[in-house]
Amino acid sequence: MFVSFFLGSMLRSATPILFTALGEAYGESAGVLNIGAEGMMLTAAFTAFVAAASANSLLVGVIAGVGTGIVFGLLFAVLVVTLRADQIVIGVGFDIAAAGLTSLGLRVIYGTAQLPVLPSREVVDIAPLSSIPVIGKAFFSQDAMVYLAILLVPVFYYVLYRTRFGLKLRTLGESPMVADTAGVNVFLMRYIILMLVGAMAGLAGTYLSIYQVGFFRDDMTQGRGFIAIGVTMFARWNPVGVFLASLLYGGAESLAGGVQALGFLRTIPNEVVLILPYIFTIGGLVALARRARLPPALAKPYRREL
């Protein structure tokens, strides 16, 4: 059933964007713009693949990928929070370096040999629900990571808008000075948030390489990190909005893949469908982010003027 397959693949395509965007939402709400998300995703994708292949275990891959994300989040924090370097410069530097290092690493480790095959992902079938026609297989017969991503949405929403931690976080983005005066340790919080951002990007990259695709390819993120940033912006940093937007993205990517595989609607040239995800991102920004109020302290390093 094409629709069922399409819906299922929509969720899988949405998952990397969802992970990254949830993290970015927290980061940007705290005033940090992690433009290096693409690089973090790519690096995590690589380490996850190498670890999973060496240990022949997807779980090891996940640990490696998330760990990589946290490490890079921490590195980013040192540079951007403590040294107060320009977030854009460091972020873009991460992206360029990650592309070079991962492709280099791929060749150094595997040379021209064929890449090892990973253990296949385990689908968690939620028994009675997955028998529902059409949507059953798509929504209730996915791997654990997809469920994790979806479950994180209400968690992230709740923490951001209904807890003191979330309030402190949002204050960081609005006015770090106010937060500081109120006793919040701006630097420590931003460190923690950035490690979370890195972890989420790590999860996303891990999912991409060892679950969704099954191996690592040069530049396999193909701009997803930036798309996630775009999604975060036009969802106005609201985790629920992020979820919906990620689904839309997943739909666009899924459609592109489906058209190619099924030769569906052969009259539309291939390339037109390929650009759907990118048009979607721009369109989303124009449609929804125009009146969005950016967190005033976004991308500005915090200095204590005493």
């Binding site: 433009i35 690089g39 540079l79 040294l83 107060r84 370097a85 320009d86 854009i88 410069v89 460091i90 873009v92 530097g93 991460f94 992206d95 360029i96 370096a97 990650a98 592309a99 070079g100 290092l101 492709s103 280099l104 060749r107 150094v108 040069d218 193909q222 701009g223 930036f226 798309i227 940033i229 775009g230 912006m233 040239p269 291939n270 390339e271 037109v272 390929l274 650009i275 990118y278 048009i279 991102t281 721009i282 920004l285 124009v286 982010a289 125009r290 950016l294 200095r303």
Partner: protein, 363 residues
């Protein structure tokens, strides 16, 4: 009575500080280069390569072979042109990461002009081609520019999305409407007519695009340092609120600076087509746009300093490619170096800013 000793020491301190002012920005660049190469050496050693051998081969192949030198001059061109334009928009605080796409569109448009105006003499068709390139680049950056100016939509995301779109659009155009019907084996565009090709500088193998690139750098230098517009860009880049307070036409400045960088990227594309390629392959995705990024930073946004730095960067690229063929080290190592340079530069600049604040507080 003025205390002459006190005055002397103050003057001396001031003189030292201001002479240091020239040194210190360059320090970040040096840190960036050294840091990147040292980190690169660590990476090389851990992957079984000898860093000294790698670096030596890189420079030797680039500078001591005729092939190397020639390639460097050819590669410097588009890099320099793009960097000159990027400098303008970076100075205005705007991040155009879509230069690849703008270059592609500019190249395509230039290509089309280059073969459609068959019987027009060289002195007319060449400028037309180059202008077409600029128009292509500008058209491609215009939507993100407007989106930023009107609605403050992040230009990194928008220009990058258009980048990806350009790559797919190119595939479609070259395989479809712009495909050269005469060649059945491989999709490519129709080549430009002979009169549209850029002539070579007499006595050398390099085409006059080099002169265009150098002239452009001078123009940009004068623009940024001697004109009101350049000053306005710099104010905008320094602080948006200061610019607003000063009553500057912010929307117009945003669009203009982005258009300039788009125009240069498109120009680079047209120059490549007119001087080197003659026609376009569907998978032509030039990487100069991304390589120019760290270049502009390391040259400290100085349009004249960009000239030697373009040579330096194309040395890395050309040398890297030749070294890859000689030693088998994957060429991605060079990309890693460039990324590291940018990160180290950012870190060094940050430390420098921190240092300046410390000094400021002490007095």
């Amino acid at each position: 009575m003025v205390d002459k000793t006190a005055m002397k020491s103050v003057t001396l301190r001031r003189a030292l500080r201001s002479s240091g002012a020239l040194l210190r920005p360059a320090l970040s660049t040096i840190v960036a280069l050294v840091g990147a190469f040292v980190t690169g050496a660590i990476i090389l050693t851990s992957t079984g390569f000898n860093p000294m051998q790698v670096y030596y081969t890189m420079f030797q192949e680039a500078w001591y072979t005729e092939f190397g030198i020639r390639k460097i001059l050819i590669e410097t061109l588009p890099l320099l042109i793009i960097a000159s334009g990027l400098l303008v928009c970076f100075r205005a605080g705007l991040w155009n990461v879509g230069c690849q796409g703008q270059m592609i569109i500019g190249g395509l448009l230039g290509n089309v002009v280059g073969y459609s105006l068959g019987t027009v003499p060289s002195p007319i068709i060449i400028p037309l081609m180059l202008i077409a390139g600029m128009i292509g680049g500008m058209a491609w950056v215009l939507p993100p520019a407007i989106m930023k100016a009107r609605w403050d939509l992040n230009e990194i995301v928008t220009t990058l999305m258009l980048n990806f779109i350009a790559i797919d659009f190119e595939l479609y155009l070259v395989k479809g409407p712009l495909r050269n019907a005469k060649i059945s084996t491989h999709p490519m565009t129709t080549p430009i007519v002979a009169t549209a090709e850029l002539p070579k500088i007499p006595g050398t193998q390099v085409h006059i695009g080099l002169i265009i690139a150098l002239a452009l750098s001078v123009v940009v230098y004068l623009l940024m340092s001697r004109t009101t517009l350049g000053y306005q860009f710099r104010v905008l880049g320094g602080s948006t609120s200061a610019a607003r307070y000063a009553g500057l036409p912010i929307s117009r400045l945003i669009v203009l600076s982005l258009l300039i960088s788009g125009a240069t990227a498109g120009l680079a594309g047209a120059v490549e087509v007119a001087g080197v390629m003659r026609n376009i392959d569907p998978e032509w995705v030039p990487s100069y746009g991304l390589e120019a990024f760290p270049l502009v930073f390391l040259a400290n946004f100085n349009a004249l300093v960009i000239i030697p730095f373009s040579f330096l960067f194309s040395t890395f690229l050309v040398g890297g490619d030749l070294m890859h063929r000689a030693l088998g080290l994957p060429i991605f190592f060079i990309d890693a170096l460039l990324g590291l340079m940018l990160v180290f530069f950012g870190a060094a600049e940050a430390v420098r800013q921190l240092q300046l604040r410390w000094r400021g507080k002490k007095d």
